[in-house]
Symmetry: C2
Subunit: 261 residues, 2 copies
Amino acid sequence: MRWIHYSAPGAAPAYGLLEGDRIRAQRGTPFGAHEASGAVHRLEDVRVEVPFIPRTFYAAGLNYVQHILAGAARRGETPNIPARAEIGYRAVNALVADGEPVVIPADATQIEYEGELAVVIGRRGHQLSEADALSCVLGYTIGNDVSERIWQKSDRTFWRAKNADTFKPMGPWIETDFDLDAAATTVRVNGTVTTQFRTGGMLFGIARFISVMSRYITLHPGDVIWMGTDGKSPALKAGDVVEVEISGIGCLRNPFVAESS
Amino acid sequence: MRWIHYSAPGAAPAYGLLEGDRIRAQRGTPFGAHEASGAVHRLEDVRVEVPFIPRTFYAAGLNYVQHILAGAARRGETPNIPARAEIGYRAVNALVADGEPVVIPADATQIEYEGELAVVIGRRGHQLSEADALSCVLGYTIGNDVSERIWQKSDRTFWRAKNADTFKPMGPWIETDFDLDAAATTVRVNGTVTTQFRTGGMLFGIARFISVMSRYITLHPGDVIWMGTDGKSPALKAGDVVEVEISGIGCLRNPFVAESS
């Protein structure tokens, strides 16, 4: 089942179920009671919205080996592969929807993508075993953890390196039926494949992260966990279009543009 | 003006204006249109709620000199006083209201308080000069940035050291008329003053932080910025009651309890 958050022309944002290119409009949300309103739209006629505004926006950070090795090589450091599943955070201000532009700040110099699986929490979860951990998951979407590498190295926090406005595309929708073992993440820049990896090839899997987190943290409906990325990105520039595709979910496509002065 | 978020017996949470010990109930929120409903409650008859769930939960972290010196001494490190206003983050899952217990995890060993001024954003703010920065501020409340110091040192992120459930008391209400220059922050443990400092004695003030942040980040109604703390805390234990008072705002009071096994 695919939950899409969209705006039909002249209407407020609403949720619908996407079947092929048809949206069956719903009253309510994926996180609570809902029912068909009877309205039907064509996907091409609506604007796709951010699937939801997370209550808490979690991010695994370093969770695939090749990405960790590439980052260490770029910084001239010894790779430091995490021994434990330790979650981090991203910020809501930075979210944009599928199709919306990522704005490169005028003083940014090294912009890269990170294509990520995003886990959408649908039910309250606290002190879950690994065996039970996925019981709180509603579905999956796609994130692009856009990063400015110079600021990532120079700043004390990730506030502008990873959380500048528009640096967190998420979407295009939430897929509830997803086979992680069969999934590949493919990133294309201007139509050319630049990164591809097995989505499930994580250091610490989804169940492990949720189990570890929920020892101290209650997960709530509308929380999201971005699971990290593998490989490396070319340096991006204004005019590029980045597509992050995860097989079985869909494709998140965003143009990169220069900040207007 | 004092905005309080509260639950009257048997009723859903609502906003009101607090005058002395009387609450004049409002329809709407402090962040949008509102009008008096006509109902009046006594403060002692309601449950105080978290003033609002932040959209993005910002935290200045290191922003007062004595706190930075004390932390470095505790860790046996050279003090590293920030040269720039770089914002960090805390997590919504950890929020509790005035009066609610802070639960000390069974495996926590060194729990401390941090009494902080919290700046409540009421209007959209983007690329604000320092002179204009406070135009986006609705008011002020109080936060206690409860921290587990062993985890803060051992972990890659602050996920459990600062963001375990209940580690972020915020309240008791939002004060819109506040004189920062005249304000003192006083922390008491079991009624005895343990920390006191000039609230305005920050390395980087509120206007500076907002101006720097808003270069890259749009602030939104319902965002909050915790401004950091000064001094140091004794080690806390189950049974302690911590009060963070900021003159001109009020007093945030929370009991600390042991996690039930």
